[in-house]
Symmetry: C2
Subunit: 343 residues, 2 copies
Amino acid sequence: MPKKKLSEAMPGGSGATSYDVAELAGVSQSAVSRAFRKGASIAPKTREKIMRAAKQLGYQPNAFARGLITRRTNLVAVVISNLTNLYYPEVLAELTQRLSAVGHRVLLFSLASESEIDEMLGLIWPYRVDGAIIAARLKDDQIRQFNDRGIPIILYNRVGEAEPAASVACDSAAGERELVKHLLAAGHRRFGIIAGPQDSYVGEERLDSARRHLAAAGIEPFIYRGGFDYHSGDEGLRVLMVASGGALDAVIATNDAMALGAIDCARGAYDLTIPEQLSIVGFDGVGPATWGGYQLTTIRQPVRRMAQAAVDMLIERIEQPGMIPEQRLFGGELLPGRSARLG
Amino acid sequence: MPKKKLSEAMPGGSGATSYDVAELAGVSQSAVSRAFRKGASIAPKTREKIMRAAKQLGYQPNAFARGLITRRTNLVAVVISNLTNLYYPEVLAELTQRLSAVGHRVLLFSLASESEIDEMLGLIWPYRVDGAIIAARLKDDQIRQFNDRGIPIILYNRVGEAEPAASVACDSAAGERELVKHLLAAGHRRFGIIAGPQDSYVGEERLDSARRHLAAAGIEPFIYRGGFDYHSGDEGLRVLMVASGGALDAVIATNDAMALGAIDCARGAYDLTIPEQLSIVGFDGVGPATWGGYQLTTIRQPVRRMAQAAVDMLIERIEQPGMIPEQRLFGGELLPGRSARLG
DNA sequence: ATTCATGTTGCATCCGAAGTCAAAAATGGC
DNA sequence: GCCATTTTTGACTTCGGATGCAACATGAAT
């Protein structure tokens, strides 16, 4: 008995397979397959005939069957730790657009906490993604798991430590240096820093850079650690005001959300005018930073270019496995804004 | 010759299949398959042995092979029109969390413009998603395509018109009514409305409701149409100020982003104090609305409950196809804030 | 017309896990 | 210890499309 059990047209459903299309078009299943593979050996006339039949049946090749045999799924895992952060939605939007443009689908994973990563990796493997873009803190052994499985990854605003990994990042150190330089030039001397959680890679980089450049000028800043959110900015400013005895010239927040929280707190709780009585700077250049009420002085990450680079690099590495991990560092742009006096 | 071409252990890779595991554990492939299916008929001792072998090889069942035979992919398509809108990232985060919790993966699609929907549908079909949650404007024939293919969908803050579709939404009309009621009770009489684009379902609902309730009080508001973004709020306020000859009591923005833009514009460009000289209300209850600098008077959508409901309904409909489309309407919560005088 | 190169086509097989079914093993009752 | 149940197990087939290969058609060159 030949294997020709055609899927009977269900009531209204469209479970058409290549066999159904083949029968309707009067060709073999192979022909149908070839009609849908660009560049395959098939006569234009035949392809047309097949496409007509396919349309009539609402046929679409089954990505699962295809992926099984070709070992290409056209899926890319995108892992983002906290989507509610103001910065990531923009990144995600860009990544999704770019990936779509090159024929890849986004399998999205978001984490409530970094501890969920291992669990999440277990959810990724079964889908045999062609690659992954990761904006979350991966430990070396987690990076190695991708490497071992031959799945190319691009770290976004993170870098691999011992284990090699391709990455795209915004130069935090350089951005922070720029801010500090201008703040110092404008005469600020008493600094407070509102930093992020210690497990954030970029957070620590920004903090280190700021401290280093302040230290070079003989300045020891007050430091508060928050959680990268608006509320941390508010609380951070209060803590710093107390710690410094109210004598602050400038506050460096390691991201915009906290800087905005600090601005509102300075105005609302301490009745300070920004930037005359206190300079506040952030980092990222998220949407609200440019709003009229804030006009934050900050470093804008070139999100579009970074996303484009991440996707380009990933595709390259998918097409040509075994490339040496490349790290691309993008310079941020100083948005002068009006929340700090710069020199 | 038996089909026993085992995938040779690549250099460091882990392309282990159930056959590899079977061989190592000294059992048949079927046994391996059963070991990974909860509730399958297998002896505890055997399962343990298999799991040990699987771990050793880094084996994870191939979702593509599994999906092909079971016709369940555990994939859910999530379609969101504009991710850069302040409101959607929160929704997306909730949806992803909830879906993960019930064992489903998110295949994310975002649209740069609504016209891309048809194209995007063509990208969804091959992946045989188990269901879809859609926060974008689907035309009836597009909803029908899902119905025809037997793919359950949940519309998020949208409803189907002619074609039946399950949906989850926040009661825009009721929320807007509440706002108008309180604004009227506080004595406001000269209203301006900053509305969204006409192709937005919730936008039109909010606008209609506001106009209707104002009309009932004999009031004809000035209306401006924007694009749901911060900048539209700024521009909207300027236009309304001109149109009304500067004599506005209250501004109703049909979402928060525009309300925030209007507040900053009122303060910055017209030097008005909010809410003493002008009341401004929004809709959604996004993060920045509660920030100290704004404390927006708005209607907070119960995002968590809505997302939970959307996922629950979708799963129900996946498990039990053919259910009658249900529509769930959630009431919003009035956040009094400080951007409007309420009665 | 014959030969050869080129372009199309169908057959058979494969990808990897799941499910069917009947055989084999374990369990229980007496 | 023997037979009747109940588990547990493995051989084989299935899902749907891609591909190597051989067969076939087409047209050009001789």
